[in-house]
């Protein structure tokens, strides 16, 4: 599936939105605008953006507490996202979810889950619903390398394979759980290899190359849509931050700066767009500026929004 230029440029815009959004989310946490924790997606932007670009707007997506990137890539509104993270009434979830529980059903993002892997069988069920209702939709389920160790991941692989569900497992392999390196938690060199046990394809792709992710995801989605069942797409990526606002772990501040620069998906893709003469050399800077401005508006909106009234406490428990 070929990308038209406008969409190719949109990929860069989305990566910048995510980058700027996460920088602000980190800053606001540091300045005490919200509590709990936040799990930045910086460095991994190409995975969410490339994968979601290969999906249709109506394709449901599920992700983790490290879900801001996927939420933006799926097309949600950064203003309501930031307001949610700050626990505001205007947030996507009226402040009840916070950073780890973003969801936006209006764009098919259902949603972030804070329990590692718990959303994987749910993604299977959402995919089963698509199959039963012949919607033609494909479901994408994002999760990490660590999550791929939880039993329910394998259980869902087996069921999805048995029932040939329209489901794509997207493993965001950023090399670490919190502090545990994949070499200490996964007994094989590539997580994609897990798929062999279930009889469906597993592919490993450079998760910092937005076009490579897009291509792999397009193939997986096409396969799922045509009724051939699930695919496991392992995106090898890297996170630029500590695990979360609360937990260090994994990459040490600075010590990996070299690798970060080398793998940074944004300049890499910017340069590609420029050399392909799809955009002018000064366009990337303008795109960055636009993203910064947009996210600053989102921050302003979030900060100025009201907190939920205590009356909300008993609302939305039962339908």
């Amino acid at each position: 599936m070929e990308l038209i230029t406008a969409k190719q440029i949109e990929l860069l815009k989305q990566m910048w939105r995510i980058r700027c959004f996460e920088e602000q989310a980190i800053r606001l946490y540091g300045e005490g605008y919200y509590r709990g924790s936040t799990h930045p997606y910086i460095g991994q932007e190409a995975t969410a953006v490339g994968a979601c670009a290969a999906l249709r707007p109506t394709d449901p997506v599920l992700a983790t507490y490290r879900g801001h990137g996927v939420c933006i890539a799926k097309g949600s509104d950064p203003q309501r996202m930031m307001a949610e993270i700050l626990g505001k009434e205007t947030g996507l979830c009226h402040g009840k979810g916070g950073s780890m529980h973003l969801a936006d059903a209006s764009v098919g993002f259902v949603g972030s889950n804070a329990v590692v892997s718990a959303h994987i069988p749910m993604a299977g069920g959402v995919a089963l619903a698509q199959q039963l209702n012949h919607t033609g939709a494909v479901v994408a389920c994002f999760f990490g390398d660590g999550a791929s160790c939880e039993g329910i991941f394998y259980e869902t692989c087996n069921m999805a394979a048995l029932w040939k569900l329209p489901l794509v497992f997207v493993v965001e392999n950023n090399e670490f759980a919190i502090s545990t390196h994949v070499s200490e938690s996964i007994s094989v060199p590539h997580i994609a290899q897990r798929a062999q046990a279930f009889g469906f394809p597993g592919v490993t792709v450079d998760g910092c190359d937005v076009l490579a992710v897009y291509a792999a995801m397009s193939a997986a989605a096409a396969r799922a849509r045509s009724g051939d069942g699930p695919t496991l797409v392992e995106a090898q990526t890297i996170r630029w931050t500590r695990h979360s606002a609360v937990s260090a772990g994994g990459y040490g501040a600075g010590k990996d700066a070299e690798r970060w620069r080398a793998t940074d998906p944004i300049p890499r893709y910017s340069e590609w767009l420029v050399t392909q003469e799809l955009i002018a050399p000064d366009e990337p800077a303008r795109i960055e500026q636009a993203a910064r401005a947009e996210i600053e508006r989102a921050v302003k909106f979030a900060i100025e929004s009201p907190l939920p009234a205590v009356e909300q406490l008993h609302e939305d428990i039962f339908a």
């Binding site: 059903a105 949603g111 069988p121 069920g125 209702n133 039962f318």
Partner: protein, 325 residues
């Protein structure tokens, strides 16, 4: 009116609602061609097909997780766990996911999910197959908990559950599957949060759960012979709990016994007793009495199992002691 067993009544409720609502999908182990380990889903596979009555591999956590996913996608899922004890494999999905997603996502989704699970106590299956764990679910906000004791209630409550847009833990009882009620030909529903007074009396109130209800009725007969008039109340749902009906009864009798086959410590008897103490303290002539299973793992050997679970006999002596206190 035809007499149906508890299992048949559940089966009828599923069948009627599946005809009524094409969105209902069943997930579980051996629920398809086989009809369920205890026969509750018998015939549904033939009637509705394998797409809606789905045999799953052995993976309880994912069975419930798939059910939640179906619900998130606008369908209605009924998941069966073969023995209540196996809810431990699906505990995250049942307690951290299903009852919380609507709230943490600010009302964006509904989770119409029924998790059916039977208590299998007193049949000699031993420690890992004989537990009554309803107290765990009563402690989880966002969950509704039904625990019927008769075929009639089982059908009416399950039909209501199948029209409710929220996650429900539906607790059945294998010991009761063969017990019968007259089931009206006309459709009926039983709403959650309405206790049923199974027998009226004025000397002592017995709140009984699941398989303790028939024991309580038997005890009431025996107590009547010695001139003690016992009122037997079945809450039928623990969440919501119909405290008003229980308290009204205690206002009348002044004495309360809460009876269940779950272990005594931390069982729902404590919650019900304390609720009544909080709201009707002055009506109580004596402390609420709990009649419950001993706090020991459940042995397979018959005499040990028999010594673990209470029955009509224990209820009778508890009631006599309480009344003659």
């Amino acid at each position: 009116m035809p007499e149906l067993t508890y299992a048949q009544a559940l089966n009828q409720a599923l069948r009627e609602e599946m005809w009524r609502d094409p969105n209902i999908v069943l997930l579980g182990e051996d629920i398809g061609k086989y009809g369920g380990v205890f026969g509750v889903t018998r015939g549904l596979y033939d009637e509705f097909g394998g797409a809606r009555v789905r045999d799953c591999p052995l993976n309880e956590a994912s069975i419930v997780g798939f059910g939640i996913g179906l619900a998130l996608a606008g369908m209605r899922a009924v998941t069966e766990l073969e023995f209540m004890d196996f809810c431990t494999y699906a505990m995250d999905q049942i307690t951290n996911q299903a009852p919380k997603l609507r709230y943490i996502w600010g009302g964006q989704v509904k989770v119409p999910l029924v998790v059916r699970m039977p208590i299998v106590a007193e049949l000699g299956f031993g420690s890992q197959h004989s537990q009554s764990l309803e107290a765990w679910f009563m402690h989880v906000p966002g969950l509704k908990v039904a625990i019927p004791s008769t075929a009639y209630d089982a059908k009416g409550l399950l039909k209501t559950a199948l029209r409710d847009d929220n996650p429900i833990v539906f607790i059945e009882n294998v010991k009761l599957y063969a017990t019968k009620s007259e089931i009206p030909d006309d459709e009926y529903l039983i709403s959650f949060g309405k206790a049923d007074i199974k027998r009226e009396g004025d000397a002592v109130t017995i709140v009984a759960i699941s398989a303790m209800v028939p024991e309580a009725l038997q005890a009431a007969d025996e107590l009547a012979r010695v001139g003690i008039s016992a009122e037997v109340i079945d809450p039928r749902t623990l969440a919501p709990l119909d405290a008003d009906t229980i308290i009204a009864s205690v206002q009348k009798t002044g004495r309360l016994i809460v009876a269940h086959k779950a272990h005594k410590t931390g069982g729902v008897g404590a919650e019900i007793a304390q609720l009544v103490s909080e709201r009707a303290f002055d009506a109580l002539d004596a402390p609420v009495v709990r009649v419950a299973a001993q706090d020991v793992p459940i042995a397979a050997s018959q005499p040990l199992e028999a010594a673990t679970f209470p029955g009509a006999k224990e209820l009778v002596s508890a009631a006599r002691k309480l009344v003659n206190r």
